[in-house]
């Protein structure tokens, strides 16, 4: 099988083959495959690009986000689509960011060339930061869901909007609410333990809280960071038992939240309450259902629905009927897609700049969040804030601020 005995031109094959492959790919990319749709929006559909992590570390969160997004799109389409465009339908196009910034950027670029009118998504701060850089370069508006880093808005980038609160807003409100609640209940809570996941959101939360809590008269006795994933929370439970804080503040993702709560419960850690800030599990029906004993009384200051709005109640019933869990990704994406649709409606077209303008002057109140009408300053919705929920029995009730409350708060929570 030596080259000599074979076809004498074999000698030239390697070079040719290599060039062929390179040439073919070059041609494909020059032609712009996958095909670019002409114009930014046909009269029939307006496309919204969903940059969600459908695979990788955040696959669950991405899937939940799409649940909310689809519900919003379906709802509007069923009601006749975009009226100002003669009934044009909304089409959601998924761009899987694979929980990696490179893929997020790549999908933003790809979808930008496929006639997307605007983007919704991001989810994690790292993904949102890089995706919005790309969307800004392509001059496409991007509505960020969930990612809380304060650096996402305020970079002066084109078209970046965030409906929900960022870090600073969340921690300010959470702390203020805590102070108010504590003051109203005889100031029984004096010592606090922070338990947080060591990624972007957890450590940021802990840092801010550690700095602000003493200013409000609380003493931080313990600050425990842990990696995601963590197999075993017994040691953390033991440390907490040993330092006996009045209040435990967890900031972590769902899986770890469940294990942590179980560990606290199992080890009978004496505490007056668990008050999570963006707690992951604390506002999650799955947690309530599956670990009800450990979940009782847990409070969360998180993204949640405005229970007074009819639309919120319809959303909750719809999720119940479909046997899907109500998590904040659902709420935020539902609201963001509705916001995008409102902007499209006002713009009267799928034109990106018109949508951007519509968002800049938006006063949308058709979302399900407790924010009031939107007002974006440097991309951040001013009225955004988290609210306090508490698990009571088999339900997640809103307990603070009073105007939104669906049940009376139990504070402190008796050890049970």
């Amino acid at each position: 099988m030596s080259e000599d005995k074979r076809n004498p031109t074999l000698v030239n094959q390697p070079r040719r083959r290599l060039l062929q492959v390179v040439g073919a790919t070059g041609a494909a990319s020059a032609l712009g495959m996958p095909s670019v749709s002409f114009g930014q929006a046909s009269t029939r559909t307006v496309k919204i690009g969903m940059i969600q992590p459908m695979t990788g570390m955040f696959a669950y969160n991405g899937a939940q986000g799409m649940v909310g997004a689809k519900m919003a799109a379906d709802e509007i389409n069923a009601a006749g689509g975009i009226r100002s465009m003669g009934g044009a339908k909304i089409e959601l196009v998924i761009g899987d960011s694979q929980s990696k910034p490179e893929a997020a950027v790549s999908e933003v670029d790809k979808l930008s060339e496929q006639g997307i009118s605007c983007f919704v998504g991001g989810y994690a701060s790292g993904l949102a930061l890089t995706a919005t850089q790309a969307s800004a370069r392509n001059k496409v508006p991007f509505l960020v869901d969930g990612a809380v880093s304060d650096q996402i808005t305020g970079r002066g980038l084109y078209g970046v909007f965030r409906l929900c609160p960022g870090f600073k807003q969340i921690t300010d409100v959470a702390l203020q609410n805590l102070s108010n609640i504590n003051d109203a209940n005889g100031k029984q809570v004096k010592t606090v333990a922070l338990v947080f996941e060591d990624g972007a959101f957890g450590s940021g939360m802990a840092k801010t809280l550690a700095g602000e809590l003493p200013k409000r008269g609380f003493e931080v006795v313990e600050s425990i960071g842990f990696p995601t994933p963590t197999r075993d929370f017994t040691n953390i439970g033991l440390k907490l038992k040993s330092s006996k804080p009045d209040l435990i503040i967890p900031s972590c993702y769902l899986n770890e939240y469940v294990l942590l709560a179980r560990s606290i419960h199992q080890n009978k850690v004496p505490k007056k309450a668990i008050y999570s800030v963006i707690g992951g599990g604390a506002s999650n029906m799955k947690f309530v259902r599956e670990f009800n004993a450990a979940a009782q009384g847990i409070m969360d200051c998180n993204h949640w629905i405005d229970p007074r709005k009819q639309r919120s109640q319809r959303l909750v019933s719809a999720l119940d009927a479909a046997k899907l869990d109500l998590t904040y990704e659902v709420l935020l994406n539902y609201s963001n897609v509705l916001l995008a649709i409102d902007a499209i409606e006002k713009a009267g077209s799928g034109d990106r700049e018109k949508i951007n303008q519509a968002l800049l002057s938006s006063t949308f109140d058709g979302h399900v969040m407790p924010y009031g009408p939107t007002k974006f300053v440097n991309g951040q919705n001013e009225g955004a804030r988290p609210i306090n929920t508490q698990i009571q029995g088999m339900k997640v009730e809103v307990v603070y601020p009073p105007e939104y409350a669906t049940a009376k708060m139990i504070f402190p929570v008796p050890l049970g």
């Binding site: 669950y60 994933p229 040691n235």
Partner: protein
Amino acid sequence: MFDIGLLTAVTLNGLTVGAIYALGALGLTLIYGVLHIINFAHGSTLMMALYACFFLHQRAGVDPYTALLIVPPAFFVLGYAMQRYLIAPLGFGKDINVLLVTLGISIILDNLALYLWTSNTRNIDIPQAQVFIELGMISLALPKVIGVVASIVVGLLFWLLMTQTDLGKAIRAVARERRGARIVGISVDHIFAMSFGIGSACIAVAACLLIPTYYVTPKVGDGFVLIAFTTVVLGGMGSFIGALVGGLFLGVIEAWSGLWLGESLGQIGVFIIFILVLLFKPNGLFGQRNT
């Protein structure tokens, strides 16, 4: 610095965690010792076994301890087939290729699980998980104590298998001297597959014991791979006592470094030990001297 009560409690807990590491390592040290391959798919196998236990419980009401009679044997068969009909033919016996094959398998398994079962976290709640054994400051969930007992039992069974049976002798022969074993008439391919099968069964046992106190997602195996390898190297490649002792030791080290440095930074405790062992005592605590 830390009160004794806390330290004891944490150490005890570390031992229960280490017991699971030991089980994972037993299987891996067998695979590594005999086939000399770094099995990247070990974590994915654990994940699959966890799902098996989960579905058995959810669909058929089988609790994880009964599942011990079903899942490990099933995974033995799967492991045997995987080595004999997938890894060996694709690996061509070259280490680099085998690495890629196990890597490819783990990519396939992880994403198959994602595709079939979504990324939703699965939990099971069994009555045993609500039973606690109080030991001073700590209250250990019963499943954890069962885990410790089980690993010792499995370790013992392993030892019996390796020393008292013909299969065990054949495995040790192949591990020592592949060519010689072949000359003597041992089917090396069969032994490789048997070893892989036993190793897989072992990790399946670990899964049954782990599920009451943990959760299942498609990514759950990722965290275990490096710990499992550290245990194998620490204990000594090919040594089962080593795997047991190594696992327990590592569980305690992990607990102590978590206590001392915080859970986050404390992760390096395990890795630093790993590096030190590799550099200064690559045969591990109980490994055979290099020929």
